[in-house]
């Protein structure tokens, strides 16, 4: 029995091949395959090629189940840059790959937990709509946390 291969297409129109039984770790892909057999190319318009390459690398891992937990942790640790992790977390969220999403979000949380407010805004691309007075009120109320 030959293994069935799926083709995934990134936002920038690059094609990636992956064996179907590995690809269906993603609940989103599994549902697509179930619905229409997914004989042709599966477009992923929100995932860029660099991130998709990472996701494919993750899905292709050959880890024993008891080492999987450590592997996922190491996998995200090696990509310690916040922008990369955010892309990876977003792709894992879209594709519904729970373990990868958990690990990537946890890594981001760990990196930003001691950030200043300004650093957080920059890292997560948030616009500041707080007046200095409002900021001060919260700071005064929870002085111990600052």
């Amino acid at each position: 029995m030959s293994k069935k291969t799926l083709t995934l297409m990134s936002k920038d129109k690059q094609l990636f091949n992956i064996e179907e039984h590995l690809a269906v770790q993603s609940v989103t892909i599994r549902n697509m395959v179930k619905e229409d057999g997914a004989s042709s190319v599966i477009p992923l318009p929100r995932v860029d090629s660099e991130t998709l390459a990472l996701v494919i690398e993750y899905l292709n891992r050959q880890q024993a189940p008891e080492e999987d937990e450590d592997y996922v942790k190491k996998f995200v640790d090696e990509r310690g840059e916040i922008p990369t992790l955010l892309e990876l977390a977003q792709a894992a969220l879209d594709l519904d790959i729970k373990k990868l999403m958990d690990a990537a979000c946890m890594k981001v949380a760990d990196l930003i937990k001691d950030f200043t407010l300004e650093e957080v805004r920059e890292a997560l691309r948030i616009e500041n709509d707080r007046t200095p007075e409002e900021e001060k009120a919260i700071r005064d109320e929870f002085q111990w946390a600052f």
């Binding site: 969220l93 805004r121 997560l124 948030i126 709509d129 409002e134 919260i138």
Partner: protein, 361 residues
């Protein structure tokens, strides 16, 4: 700003942050503030943050400092203690009175609420015993305290049960079922996860901490057998779980005492790796690994008040974040009040007792 992150991703990341960071990040922008203070987020954070960060809360009454000490231990290889928590109350031993005071305390957000006195006073019976339970009711999205008071001298009298709901801030009487023939109740320390420390300054105080809907109290039935009494925080109904009939009958105070390895200890908790956290004879915390049959001491011999050691899972929550600040027990006041002096006389008395225990056998 270009290329904003989807809200769904932001929520996933924030729900994995410690409470302290979340409290600061309320200032990041308006939508984060409303997210962090919402019920949905509170529940999601409780699950997402605590699962990968297992910890334990240990409480004991240390005589050298003449006060309760709360420490959080990491559930890792070394079982390392992290810095202490500043508890809202610093009562010295001799002031452990019969005051009807119950405090709800959430160390993760440093908020505490002193409950109004219950309907049934502590002074009603000379030997009144209290069992306090705490839990979260998923149905009404509310935190509840259950207080069971019973007569330690005349066991035939019915226990008085009251429930406090945080949203309404009042105590309410609940009928104790007639068919539950209760003789002696001891609180069960094992079926819960920590959310908020609950304590009372009553001298026979037993406090329990929990998040689970089901609240379990171990009880000795009148017909000289043990069973587990259950209390459901949502339906507010009592139930009973039978235990094996051949369970040897021990004095009630020995119910939780177990022989592990060469020690006679009290099993306080089972860790995630299945090590047992036990209390050996002198109030020391020890870790017992069943595979290697190996004991690890985690704490030096400290002199503490008998029967004050308490261990439960420590789980952070944003509960009470919106609570009014407690005027009587403000954090600042507590910091000031940390008087390091201890009572020589009472210390000598407990030291004597402690040494007798140590060399007595």
């Amino acid at each position: 700003m270009a290329n904003q992150l989807p809200n769904e991703l932001i929520v996933e990341i924030l729900s994995r942050l410690p409470s302290k960071s979340l409290i600061r990040f309320q200032s990041v922008c308006k939508s984060w503030r409303s997210l962090i203070t919402s019920t949905e987020f509170r529940l999601m954070h409780f699950h997402n943050f605590n699962k990968p960060n297992p910890r334990y809360l240990v409480r004991r009454f240390e005589l050298r400092e003449n006060r309760e000490v709360y420490t959080v231990y990491l559930d890792d290889q070394l079982f390392m203690p992290t810095p202490r928590l500043n508890s809202p109350s610093v009562l010295p031993v001799r002031e452990y009175t019969t005051k009807d005071e119950v405090i709800l305390w959430n160390p993760a957000v440093r908020r505490n609420v002193t409950l109004i006195p219950p309907i049934f006073p502590n002074s009603y019976w000379k030997d009144l015993y209290l069992v306090l339970g705490f839990g979260y009711d998923t149905v009404s999205d509310d935190y509840k305290v259950v207080r069971v008071a019973y007569d330690g001298l005349f066991f035939s009298s019915r226990p008085h049960v009251e429930i406090y709901t945080v949203k309404t801030a009042v105590w309410r009487v609940v009928t104790f079922p007639d068919d539950l023939c209760c003789f002696f109740i001891c609180p069960n320390h094992s079926y819960t996860g920590t959310l908020i420390a609950l304590r009372s300054t009553f001298r026979n105080e037993r406090s329990r901490i929990g998040y689970n809907r089901h609240h379990l109290i171990r009880c000795l039935m009148f017909h000289a057998r043990y069973s587990i009494m259950t209390f459901d925080m949502s339906t507010e109904g009592f139930g009973e779980i039978e235990l094996p009939k051949d369970l040897p009958l021990l004095p009630t105070t020995k119910v939780v005492v177990t022989v592990v390895g060469e020690f006679l200890g009290r099993v306080l908790q089972v860790r995630n790796n299945e090590d047992l956290i036990t209390e050996s004879g002198c109030g020391d915390l020890t870790i017992y690994n069943r595979e290697t049959c190996h004991y690890v001491y985690t704490s030096s011999m400290r002199i503490m008040l008998e029967d004050t050691l308490f261990v439960d899972r420590y789980q952070e929550s944003l509960a009470l974040l919106d609570a009014e600040r407690d005027a009587i027990l403000d954090e600042a006041k507590v910091e000031e009040g940390q008087d390091e002096r201890f009572d020589d006389e009472s210390l000598a008395r407990y030291e004597a007792r402690y040494l007798i225990q140590l060399f007595g056998e």
